[in-house]
């Protein structure tokens, strides 16, 4: 079976400080992988590196994304190949309307993939359909990107964008942070409805709570720049109950 993304022995640093220290992860189509771990383990770094943030230096390792060398691609080309990052802190862009930039994005993605431009009518139909999916007020959809949005609206807007762009692989970076329980449910429902046998997701989270709504096929613990433990969804419950210290202890014993 083919893999969507295959991360091998990834080492990365910023300002000379090594954050990722040999990370391995493989996601196949139809799978949802959860990455959990304590603060500072490198979870968000991993998300940023996969999306193409340029401040990080990759010192070792490789990332194969659906047959392409991901690390060789520019940020926008990663998106065009079907990678999507839902930001932990979505950026506010005054004056740029959501739908306006999404139309440009969609058309540039289509052009890259040799497809025709989307017609205005089809585009608006898509906006209506997808904004309903995440219960995002269509007025918000046409407002400036994230400007004046509440925390919950920003996260819903991320999932709305994901729905519009229909990526092969979505990385959700702490999408649950700052969400109340209703918003969490809406966001999770959106993600679940977008799941197909062909696409996959990496869900980065601190808390098990999100995983009640988005049920992962695998749970990984990221600690000190590496995946140190992987298991089925029950691992999340165990982490919730015991915290991360027992894993640290286990690791120390092993040494």
């Amino acid at each position: 079976m083919k893999t969507l993304i295959n991360i091998k022995d990834l080492h990365a640093s910023i300002n000379g400080k090594e954050i990722l220290k040999g990370l391995n992860l493989e996601v196949k189509p139809g799978e949802i992988h959860a990455i959990m771990g304590p603060n500072g383990a490198g979870k968000s770094t991993l998300a940023s590196i996969l999306a193409g943030r340029e401040e990080y230096e990759i010192t070792e390792g490789s990332v194969d994304f659906d047959g392409k060398d991901l690390l060789e691609l520019a940020t926008e080309d990663r998106a065009r190949e079907g990678l999507f990052l839902a930001f932990q802190y979505p950026v506010e862009i005054p004056g740029v309307s959501n739908v306006n930039f999404l139309r440009t994005a969609l058309n540039e993605i289509r052009e890259y993939n040799g497809q025709e431009q989307i017609s205005a009518k089809d585009f608006m139909a898509l906006v209506r359909e997808k904004s309903a999916l995440v219960e995002l007020d269509s007025k918000l959809a046409s407002r400036s990107v994230n400007e004046g949005f509440s925390g919950g609206e920003k996260k819903r807007n991320e999932i709305f964008q994901m729905a519009m762009l229909q990526p092969k692989l979505a990385i959700l970076d702490e999408t649950d942070s700052g969400l109340d329980i209703d918003a969490l449910r809406i966001v999770a429902n959106g993600v679940n409805k977008l799941k197909t046998p062909e696409n996959g997701a990496i869900v980065i989270t601190h808390y098990q709570r999100l995983l009640d709504y988005i049920v992962p096929d695998f749970v990984h613990v990221l600690y000190d720049g590496k995946i140190v433990k992987s298991g089925p969804k029950e691992l999340a419950l165990e982490l919730e109950e015991k915290g991360y210290d027992w894993i640290k202890d286990e690791l120390e014993k092993a040494h």
Partner: protein
């Protein structure tokens, strides 16, 4: 007299100009003479000209050129239904202009004068003394103009100097829009020095849309003076789309109560362009509001100046004055000098001013790129959004379209 005339650079400059034949109040002319005689061009030691050098203007090789244009250039058409008044090198071209006399509710005269007292400023003095032509537009009381009047100022030839003077009188309860635009045809090293004197009378509403789109190496100085009476509303939108050297001097005297004043400006510069906006709103009466927003995008080695001053006089209570200047620098070599100023002598007012200068938000660029936009598209989108903030407040959609297409032609931006 002839002795003093060769002493200063300004005298030398003036010796190449022809004193105006346009009728003007003798007192004004005497003031202008007295002001100019023996004077030097202002230098950067003068606060008013601190960031704008006049050396290039004082060194201009001035010529008097015959008119060459046969028709209004396509690029000068902004509004399809506007009544057009055309100037070439500051001279009124009646043959190319629409017949404004036929417009009901509008009195037009090509024998201008000035209702204003002398302004102690070199470009005003030069205009009074050497005006190439002067017109008066009178919007009669209660007239509501459906379509704007468009003043088209065209420079042609080498070293032409245009000094038109335009008087606009918006009479009581009138509503009108005037477009003023600058263009050029086969011209370089030309100077345009316009004086626009505006009287907005009680309950009148007037919008001036100023579109500066001169290419090549021309220089332009706009001097606007506006008096506003009780219950009037005045809006001036200054869109500087091109031009190697542009200076705008705007002065609004708010003399009556319940007055609204809106000054908007957008300037987009590149290469070695220089654009300077000086504005002054003088609140002399209580219960008024003024709103000022200027935004600029500067690239290449271009320089910009914003100096916006708001005076609130002692008896001008309950004033709501808002002023903001924002700039984005797209290159390391672009410069902006921004100086918002408030001088308040009343104690019950609400005033704010602010200035921001920065680069494009790199986090926003990255965010857009993660959605599949190329870096170029992402930057264009952010720049157009920044300037669009001003353009969207301009009510005349033809002016907005013109500005957008000029910018998209020049920079490849799409709005």
């Amino acid at each position: 007299m002839s002795q003093t005339l060769m002493n200063t650079k300004l005298d030398q400059f003036r010796s190449k100009l022809t004193p105006s034949k346009v009728k003007i109040d003798q007192t004004l002319l005497d003031h202008a003479d007295a002001y100019l005689n023996g004077r030097e061009f202002p230098t950067t030691r003068d606060e008013f000209w601190k960031y704008t050098r006049l050396t290039k203007i004082s060194n201009l090789q001035i010529n008097v050129n015959a008119s060459i244009i046969q028709s209004i250039p396509e690029a000068a058409i902004i509004h399809p239904n506007a009544q057009k008044i055309v100037f070439e090198n500051g001279v009124y071209r009646k043959d190319l202009s629409d017949n404004i006399h036929q417009l009901s509710g509008v009195q037009f005269s090509d024998k201008g004068n000035s209702n204003f007292s002398f302004q102690e400023e070199v470009f005003y003095a030069l205009n009074y003394k050497y005006s190439t032509d002067a017109i008066t537009i009178d919007i009669e009381s209660k007239t509501v103009l459906k379509d704007p009047i468009h003043l088209i100022l065209i420079s042609s030839g080498e070293g032409s100097v245009s000094m038109p003077r335009i008087a606009i009188n918006a009479d009581k309860f009138s509503e009108s829009e005037i477009i003023v635009s600058t263009h050029n045809v086969n011209s370089q090293n030309c100077l345009t020095n316009v004086v626009i004197e505006v009287d907005v009378q009680e309950n009148a509403k007037l919008t001036i849309n100023k579109v500066q789109n001169e290419k090549s190496t021309n220089f332009s100085v706009f001097n606007e003076r506006v008096d506003q009476a009780l219950n009037s509303c005045f809006m001036l939108n200054t869109l500087t789309l091109n031009g190697s050297w542009v200076r705008n001097n705007v002065r609004v005297n708010v003399k009556g109560q319940n007055v609204e004043t809106h000054l908007l400006g957008a300037y987009v510069t590149n290469e070695s362009q220089h654009v300077d906006n000086h504005t002054l709103i003088d609140h002399l009466a209580p219960n008024c509001q003024s709103n000022e927003l200027y935004k600029g995008v500067l690239d290449g080695k271009s320089t910009g100046v914003f100096n916006g001053k708001v005076f609130v006089r002692k008896d001008a209570q309950k004033i709501n004055a808002f002023q903001s200047n924002g700039n984005v620098l797209l290159s390391d070599d672009a410069t902006i000098n921004s100086k918002p100023e408030l001088e308040i002598y009343a104690d019950d007012v609400k005033c704010s001013h602010g200035s921001t200068t920065g680069q494009l938000d790199e986090d926003a660029v990255y965010y857009l790129r993660t959605r599949g936009l190329s870096e170029k598209s992402a930057r264009h989108l952010l720049v157009t959004a920044f300037i669009g903030d001003v353009l969207e407040k301009v009510e005349d959609e033809h002016v907005v379209k013109y500005a957008e297409s000029a910018l998209s032609e020049r920079y490849g931006w799409s709005f």
